[in-house]
Amino acid sequence: MVETVLRYRTDEPVADPAVTVDAFGAQGNATAVRIEPGDDALALVPFLDRIALIEVNFPSFADGRGYSSARSLRERGYTGELRAVGDVLIDQLSHMRRCGFDSFAPDKPISPEDAEAAFATWGEVYQKTVDGRAPIWAARHPGAQKA
């Protein structure tokens, strides 16, 4: 599997290989872990401080569980690298970024230029998520009272 990583972080990438969620639980010192679609990402929540890289595997782009895993981890305070690996096409990049992914290792390499174009697909967004982008309702009601 050719892995050309598109990375949108300024810190140093993790050198350690990612271990499975099960193996992570068994070991004490892994800093990189890989989540499969059926894994419960929230099992990692108690250990987020010491994880520098979470890979979320997409064996098939049609299986969208990884989006929930990613967003849930960011919501619970994960600030390390969150990488989408596997069957990732440019058509998924924008939504993945919005769910908190900040690096990508697609099976079929994507050029940085194509990736930038993909991220720019939508100038605005309807929903507030974990990517820090202000949703359209915030633009409509600057300084409005929260619900």
Binding site: A62, Y67, Y126, H141
Partner: protein
Amino acid sequence: MYEYDQHDQAMVEARVAEFRGQVARRLSGELTEDQFKPLRLKNGLYLQLHAYMLRVAVPYGTLSSAQMRVLGDIADKYDRGYGHFTTRQNIQYNWIKLSDAPQILEDLAKVQLHAIQTSGNCIRNTTSDHFAGAAADEVVDPRPYAELLRQWSTFHPEFDYLPRKFKVAIIASDTDRAAMRLHDIGIQIVKNEAGEIGCKFFAGGGMGRTPMIAPCIAQFVPALQMISFLEAALRVYNRHGRRDNKYKARIKILVHEIGVDEYARQVQEEFAHILTLGLEPPPAELERIKAMFVDPGLESGLSDDLDLSDPDFALWVDQNVHAHKQPGYAIVTISLKPVGGIPGDATADQIRLMADLARDHSLDELRVSHAQNIVLPHVKKADLYRVWQALVEAGLATPNLDLITDIIACPGLDYCALANARSIPLAQKITDRFADIGRQRELGELKLKISGCINACGHHHAGHIGILGVDRKGLENYQLLLGGAESADTSLGTITGPGFSEDGVVDAIEKVTDVYLAHRDEGERFLDTYRRIGMAPFKEAIYG
């Protein structure tokens, strides 16, 4: 009704640009069909039996006359002069070219229409009550909430690759005119004892292979937490819905397998977490949307008098016209079910005629009902005769709303690659058999629904009389069901017994109606008699 601001407009235009790029990549071979298919489905583009089919969204079934006019023009310019209105309040075009699709989406975007998420494993068009804003029994107009839902669900980044399609319906009255309990998530807007507006949530309804009525998962969620609750409900489904078997991937299977209490518990847990994140649009956003739905320009002090001396007009008024909450007005249902016709189809000329009637006589508004008819929601009683005359001339004045010839039918094997049997010729034969309007009215309310395959797009499980087309050794065969209902007293139909040929099932239906007439008590509809006397007398008459 809702009008896009520059933000909404930019979103649909961005989608058009994205799709243009995707089509180009498909035509060049950069995308394989397997890669392209989910992308085109998310723009409502199917490959059907004869051509590509495009499903255009009609958000919560509401259209302006300008939008309706463009839908007619698209039928002429890009299709073969007609469109088909569906059981999810959308419109479908059957003869679309892939190479035209991006331009069609661009034309639609100009009038604030789109085909976003009308197919694919994502959140689909949210449907609602086709009498919303005009009905006397609603707690509030549900459509502002539906619009909030539309925006929240559009391009939602987490829920674009769900286990399966996801359909939401939202109503605001006890009378369910939108088959709400037969949706993946159904919402009834209610008022609690303190007079506060909230949402009663149902989850896990649906038809298809394993029909289920959605159980309640939350009695009252404050209206201003609706989006947060939906986030939770969808997330639990996205995480736990089955991915191993396409036929077991809907949320109804998940709710059934883990139990409604467990599903509700998981949703509550996630909901509590989501509430800490401030995802809910502010109250000002709902108010902004609501402001576009109040006061469509109804006049006060208009007369409720109506000259019913023309018997044909009187009959049509009696059958197809409903009371409006405002004196002097009425709700008109235009039947797209002429005897011998194709249920739900309308020619481009008819579509434009209806657009004109809406502009001139319905405060510029139309609705699409999930029964595949068109509603003019705000017609002055003083204008009814003129409207009726125009409809008569256009072949749109069939006075059969909710009668046996007001058939809901999917396109079936004549059009659909998923079908096992044709549904339209059967609908035509049934309407021909029951063509006499006196006979139809004698039978009264009788909702007959036909699906050409188990996917149940014709809602046959919810028909007072339902028909399911199957393939029996290469021949078309039809199963008959009785006793389904889609309103507040939702029930699923029961199969009568062995299936029939096309002619055979028409005969069987006639026998069923004879049994009803023979047994009914005063004031009983077909459904009431069936519920009282049960299947046995019908079975006896059909199978002897």
